[in-house]
Symmetry: none
Subunit: 237 residues, 2 copies
DNA sequence: ACCAGCAACTTGTATATATAAGTTGTATTA
DNA sequence: TAATACAACTTATATATACAAGTTGCTGGT
């Protein structure tokens, strides 16, 4: 079962999305018209529209008849994935990631507070722990568990400054379609006190998340600890 | 400018959505195949697929190549709206609401951490505070602020055990389409300590939420304090 | 100078068609 | 009997085409 090449509309979607995310197109800009995109990429309008539809669904653009495709800039965000500082906005340049436990394959002790299927249990789990810092200050500690199902070379990929979501989407055509999360406020335990440098009484956020994808039955899990003193977790719904 | 008739794909979408919502198709059922829908409604496949695409985007169905369109049943929830106990599920019967500050009109001191427009500021704000208990235990304290814009008799409505969402939808045709939230873990301040009966070091959850609606420019705000010791906040995304 | 109207763009909707690829049940074969 | 092969379904992807309808700017007439 060879890796099937990504369809054209998906390639175009990735390209356009990338151009929006890296700032080539800014909020308010118009994308090239559908006919231009057809000509440049040698595709037909339905195919191009398919790619644009994806961008619309994810909130990257809005389309106006007679006008064009207008870049909105920020996607709706899937659950919680962006930070906003209480004082100033946080750019990508201030955000760094440290891999604390390198991705490796192990069994499933548990999936936090979620149930997993026998099938998932049988294939083992790709496990990693990462610490995220903003301006060298630890803000977020994330434990991720992914079923080891047909993800060639995953453990050797560099996840240092990339989102798991992006890696899954770009290299494996896995889109996170939704999910479920449980949120608790907790006191810092020893591990947390060490990583974040906070006292025992410090209130922390803990999120248990289950991510569902377009691949049938494929979901993965993460547990996130967050210090919301200086930065809050924000999300759109 | 007469009302333009709804396009075919939209009519089909409404029809199928209705059939799912009223239980004609249940979770797990297969919808008629694309070709069947073409024949029955006298449309072509791209048109039918357009309608099905909408259902996929809103989470009503999933499609599997070679299989069909499988009904999922329920759409994605809007942000955080349900509780699940760590031990057992919580039914409506165990949930009570106390109005701490009755709805009244006042000025906007602030909208928590959100900006408000001059227009909103000028019309004043409907303000209320409610405490929610599960089995007589205080779990959630909610402060709500709504712009006083064309909402006749709102302050005299009974909000004791109804969701504000429901009241706005049923009596004023206002649907919450989405919104934004910021989440913090905090220590209990004096007010919190009193209402929840917890010590000062107790970690609490604070959510600042901005709700956006189908009414152009109309949004409202709430701040929620939650004790997640026994019950966690859960949400789908 | 103004403005009505048209031309040339844009996206929206819809049809017709073709091929690829996954699923399932049945018939055939070892 | 059990495994294999195939036929008949399903959705996935892509092309080619046509016309409708909204937006914008130019152009010619008043």
């Amino acid at each position: 079962m060879a890796h099937r090449e990504a369809p054209q509309y998906r390639k175009l979607y990735e390209q356009l999305r990338h151009l929006i995310e890296d700032g080539t197109y800014n909020s308010g800009d118009l994308l090239p018209s559908e006919n231009e995109l057809c000509a440049v990429h040698n595709l037909t309008r339905p195919t191009v529209r398919n790619a644009l539809d994806m961008l619309v669904n994810e909130g990257f653009i809005v389309r106006k008849q007679g006008k064009g495709s207008i870049v909105k800039g920020k996607p709706k965000g899937i659950g919680i994935l962006s930070f906003s500082g209480t004082t100033s906005a946080v750019g990508q340049e201030n955000l760094t990631t440290q891999i604390i436990v390198k991705p490796h394959i192990r069994g499933w002790d548990n999936a936090f507070s979620y149930e997993i299927t026998e099938k998932q249990k049988s294939v083992g789990c790709i496990y990693l722990e990462r610490l995220r810092l903003i301006n060298q200050v630890p803000i977020l500690y994330e434990i991720t568990m992914i079923p080891n199902l047909n993800l060639p070379r995953f453990t050797s990929r560099n996840l240092e400054n990339k989102s798991i979501f992006d890696v899954l989407r770009k290299h494996y055509q896995i889109d996170v379609k939704g999910g479920e999360q449980k949120i608790h406020a907790i006191k810092a335990d020893e591990m947390i006190q060490e990583y974040f440098g906070v006292p025992e009484t410090h209130p922390m956020l803990r999120l248990d998340r289950k991510m569902e994808t377009n691949r049938d039955g494929f979901c993965f899990f993460s547990q996130i600890f967050c210090n919301t003193e200086a930065y809050s977790i924000t999300g759109r719904f």
